[in-house]
Symmetry: D2
Subunit: 409 residues, 4 copies
């Protein structure tokens, strides 16, 4: 009796060939397509899989789960990788892995297969999540299989193999880069982008309009309301996470907001170049960041940011399901108890900034009276003399002991 | 014989009244105006000081020193406070303090006086720097003096006092906020900005044009070349730090680049709202950030960013001259040995992004061949299987010991 | 009508004189003696206070509160200052401050007074706690009062003043150092100890026997059981926190365990030398440390230790009641969910070490089978090849880019 | 022509069998024995290797190199793993790896082979160092080789194989644990120690005497002098690093100092139990720790300790030769510029403590006058009022905004 494999299927050339290759190896293959918001003709892809020989092809809409349980916590925690990347792909992987593992359980499959490359982060993310969720699972990663790699040394080999086995090859001309799309972002990498000095063409972007030529000429202000660091309202109207993200993607996308072009450090030790567009996520991230500094005590913020940086690395590296991510996530959630309020974001062609903010309740940490230049508000300026004097003790001691500070001129 | 005071003089209403008040107290006052790039009629201010009764009024051009020894290291170290503020005021304070202390030494003055308020950061910065550089110095901070504060309870008291003493009061109507300007930035705070939910008017900005209506319609690409993390060339042309910053301020200012509107945590325990414009500095910061991730090993970057965050707090809090800043600055400089290369920045109305980058030498850490999807480049994909498996040991052990990871649905 | 003051009273010379001085100033003084386990004749001290003129002298036994709510969390969090000091005084201060503030509320006193010096940490701890718990409280700190300091320039002035006002001066000859004692520790500082190169005499120690001459010749093994990082049993017998600490103090004290002699960094910027003995606390700290590494995932431990170090600074500096300590304490408690088990400590003259440990349940993170040299236990040694190879990618890239690593010879 | 292999040879059963096995595989084997201070009959081992068939057996004395370039920097940096382990084995591995790589270069060997197990840290350390030093090297790790592991499933298989091939099996009965010895420490693990609740017998220890029965009854005081954090003198007498360590090992060993019994987190994701004795190293570590806090500014110390903790992980995990270790080592060396002085250590049966310390020059950071209770020394106690008041601003603001701090009772 054939061993069962759950294949993370995309409908594209790679996973179609992998499906066939697995069938040739004697496996029974159940394809799983997780709908995380990518633009895809899922029905056509399903028919293709079945035609190639998949036992089943399950299309699972996990968009709501993805937004609610991965993207929203990501915004709440303030996750950003190496200060620029909003982890659009990284956050999707654990969500998809849950679907894969659930399928493996349901179909009593011993194996999960995926088409991620052997040089990338996604293989690590898929597999660490799978191992964490189902320690006994076995992984088939053809792009790390010597025989498979021998057989398929380039795209042409795949096309030839597809033709040979009557696998329909999409007529759509392939872009000179590869993409990963979901409701949070689209990433572009490889191909011509491998040269970090090659400028990405405007035509590459799919979620965002050209800020210079296609965006509205006027700016737009929107308010985003947060409860415990989670976005709950747009312009005062309560909406589901999925609705908020879809609206923001549309609006911010029309302004061309959220594009970055970076080189990043992969977990496997390589540097890679990626271009990303994250329209709605960028607005949410910046709004949250603004409200957080506004609402949190300074020292709590310092601790929280340390934990946030570690968490961003965990998520990027594939450790969403891990003891450390479990722990740090709880700590970060704790930090957000007082992040309640509203931020006014101004959207402009190509970017957005926070321009106003208010706390949910009158008595928040920002104290207009205390900071005012015109009233004391309980603050005794004279105290600052002692504050400064005591803070200078160490500094003066250093001079006494080791001589003057170096002043570069 | 009268005690001598070096007064950090601006020519404005506050320090003019302070000058007079010090004279009334019997001090001999030498005014010092440090030219850090603010737009000011220094000669008129000098005459005003002398007319009020200053023994001398020294105008010192420290722009080159400021850019070379404070701003450039700030860019090199990647300093940013609470992830958004480029420390435009914070970096100027130690530079000005050096000038004040030098004057105190030259004129054998026991006192330094300043007009910084008792609720702000600047008093701390001026005084910690002064104490560090000249431990025996004494500070006069009228805005923390009970008697002075009693006498001058508001702007009107100052104006009245000025009139009484024939101190010319500028005809220029005062803005409903206060500003601090130098060659790196202008900050706006207080007044109407004290309400964090009050949106700053477009008319406020002085260094940057309105991105929507006044900026060029076309984007512009420029290249910035760094050596050891320091900007050395613009569009391939070697320039002095001051020249580079002036050119970038002009160009980026014309695009309206570098505006932020934030609430920040002051060292004295208050939260305050500030609006900042830092046109050239923003371009330099983002270019450096891009090149740094491109050039540095991942783990070196992690350590460096930790130190960078501490340094940003030191600088913001006034500890530029301190054992810890001395130490960390050396460490951060060490980290930049390999940050050599060129970044192409695209300037657009209101913002800029890095779009391309190359290392100074062919053999840098980014390895196009290694990361390529099409060639192996010495990387053995099969190795990733073991890498992932060993990384999953801890994760699976946790499940064995404590049960399944929680999956929120 | 006289203003009321709550005076933190010890019965000693200083606070007795302060009591009289406050009375002379016209205050009505309620003395508060918090029994945190110091050896003291509280009744005699009380009578002395009343005789001097205190309106009341309240003796409050807070030992159970101190152990349960300050020392136990300290052990659970693993708090240690600058790697050596178990925070015996620092932990007592917030506990005593709570008693002072409660008394201020009960007696409707506007003031709290204390006899802590102006160079020390304790003034900061008392006052920050008091301000946090009762923001409107006013503090009287005579040792920072110019007039008081003028009047009392040394111990002799105090003795003279005491005699003048019929304040009984203890016959007990004063030690050439000062001490602070509670159930967790005794600290010794000042006087002859101010010379950091002066060796503390054996006669100084009060809680611990001389390990060389007075301790048992045989070692002793005890087991300590922890639940969520909190000590709950001694030698398998459930005991209250207070009982556990008292027993351990007695036993470890008889072995001379828990002495340290250090120079530490005070919050006010000075370095000071202290000698401490913490017999029971040392055993608990080391047992907890052993169990924690045994029970916690490696990466959780790393995060936890970072937070622990910050918390130790908060506590040392007086920020027990603060937003940051509140937050970090919750995070640290979360980390201890799995710190359940038993440690066997071996007590020996002068020191103790963990010699064995077991988890509360069979399925804990330590996996004897997995680590065994003799069985595989699910670990595939071959995987380590890939693990190492991928980890070496960055290292080899560095050589390619920047040349060979420096090898010092 | 046979491929050449450099085998890290110990003379024991494992590497002797590996030598034979490599020869059977057709390799030409050059054995390398690095003398890092382990007690070994190197000549006998060499003859054994040659008899088995090694082409050569090189015995290289790297003790001086080991102490000077690995142990001394470790002391200087204050390296300690998970707060207890002084990295005795971890520090030796890069030193030995340098010898292996030098031999590979000298003999033009393509391969390095070692007998480290597939579950341990040492395989990682040897190989990462080798890859870093000689990126093109190939590793043979028989204990990760499926065929080898199949053939040798336990100690008995090795013995049988040895007998079959006339490899002399040592008459010395094997201990029920395995050891790794060098001049810094001996580690014990595996066998009966795999049960973390099994108490290690007194007979296990080789470098240290039984503190209870064999150590001197009297304590002994020694002084250790440091320059830039490096030990340079014992009792005022300048000595080479090797001499200092040998003397301290002898003396501290006779007192039974430096034993620990811990569970630690291995890099490959396992927890393992180890018993270590590090007599001289423990004395040096504690002396250095004492002097460092004495000499360093508080905030420099905080930064330094963060870097130190990262460095300890790097070294434990095998990344001695890596970009990050290179970088952090330089930073840590920088921090030690002022760690100059002398510490008096008191050695007692089983432990040691610092009892006195002095800086190399009169003007060091510790300021006896400043900290004195009896004189002001330039410190103005009144300043502390303002210091505390300003520090309480945040704390009181938190109460105003979010209500009273929780007080557990």
């Amino acid at each position: 009796m054939a061993e069962k494999v759950i294949l993370a299927y995309s409908g594209g050339l790679d996973t179609s060939c992998i499906l066939k290759w697995l069938l040739e190896k004697g496996y029974e293959v159940i394809c799983l397509m997780a709908d995380v918001g990518q633009k895809e003709d899922f029905e056509a892809a399903k028919q293709k899989a079945l035609k190639i020989g998949a036992k089943e092809c399950v299309v699972k809409d996990v968009k709501d789960d993805f937004v609610r349980n991965y993207i929203w916590p990501g915004i709440q925690m303030g996750l950003i990788y190496e200060e620029r990347y909003l982890l659009g792909t990284s956050l999707a992987r654990p969500c998809i892995s849950v679907a894969l593992v659930e399928a493996a359980r349901k179909y009593q499959a011993k194996y999960i297969a995926h088409g991620a490359t052997g040089k990338g982060n996604d293989q690590v993310r898929f597999e660490l999540c799978a191992y964490a969720l189902m320690p006994e699972i076995k992984i088939i990663a053809p792009w790390r299989d010597d025989e498979f790699c021998q057989q398929f040394q380039g795209r042409l080999d795949l096309i030839e193999y597809a033709k040979l086995h009557n696998i329909p090859v999409t007529a759509k001309p392939s872009t000179p880069w590869s993409t990963d799309a979901n409701i949070l972002h689209i990433s572009y990498e490889s191909g011509v982008l491998e040269d970090p000095n090659h400028i990405a063409p405007e035509s590459l972007y799919e979620m965002t309009k050209d800020p210079l030529t296609q965006a509205p000429k006027e700016s737009m202000r929107i308010t985003i309301t947060f409860e415990k660091g989670l976005p709950v309202k747009l312009n005062e109207k309560a909406q589901s996470p999925l609705e908020i993200l879809e609206i923001l993607n549309y609006v911010a996308g029309s302004y061309g907001i959220g594009r970055i072009d970076i080189v990043e450090n992969r977990y496997v030790g390589l540097k890679s170049r990626g271009v990303y567009e994250t329209p709605g996520g960028t607005v949410l991230f910046k709004a949250h960041q603004d409200l957080e500094v506004f609402c949190l005590d300074r020292e709590v913020l310092r601790c929280k940011q340390y934990l946030r940086d570690r968490m961003a690395d965990y998520v990027y590296n594939g450790f969403w399901f891990s003891p450390e991510a479990n722990y740090v996530r709880q700590c970060l959630e704790l930090s957000q108890a007082n992040v309640n309020g509203q931020v006014t974001m101004e959207l402009r062609p190509g970017y957005c900034i926070a321009v106003a903010r208010q706390a949910a309740t009158a008595n928040a940490l920002y104290n207009q009276e205390l900071v005012s230049m015109d009233v004391h508000g309980g603050y005794v300026p004279r105290d600052a003399s002692g504050f400064i004097a005591i803070n200078s003790v160490r500094l003066r001691e250093h001079v006494r002991a080791f001589g003057a500070y170096e002043v570069k001129k």
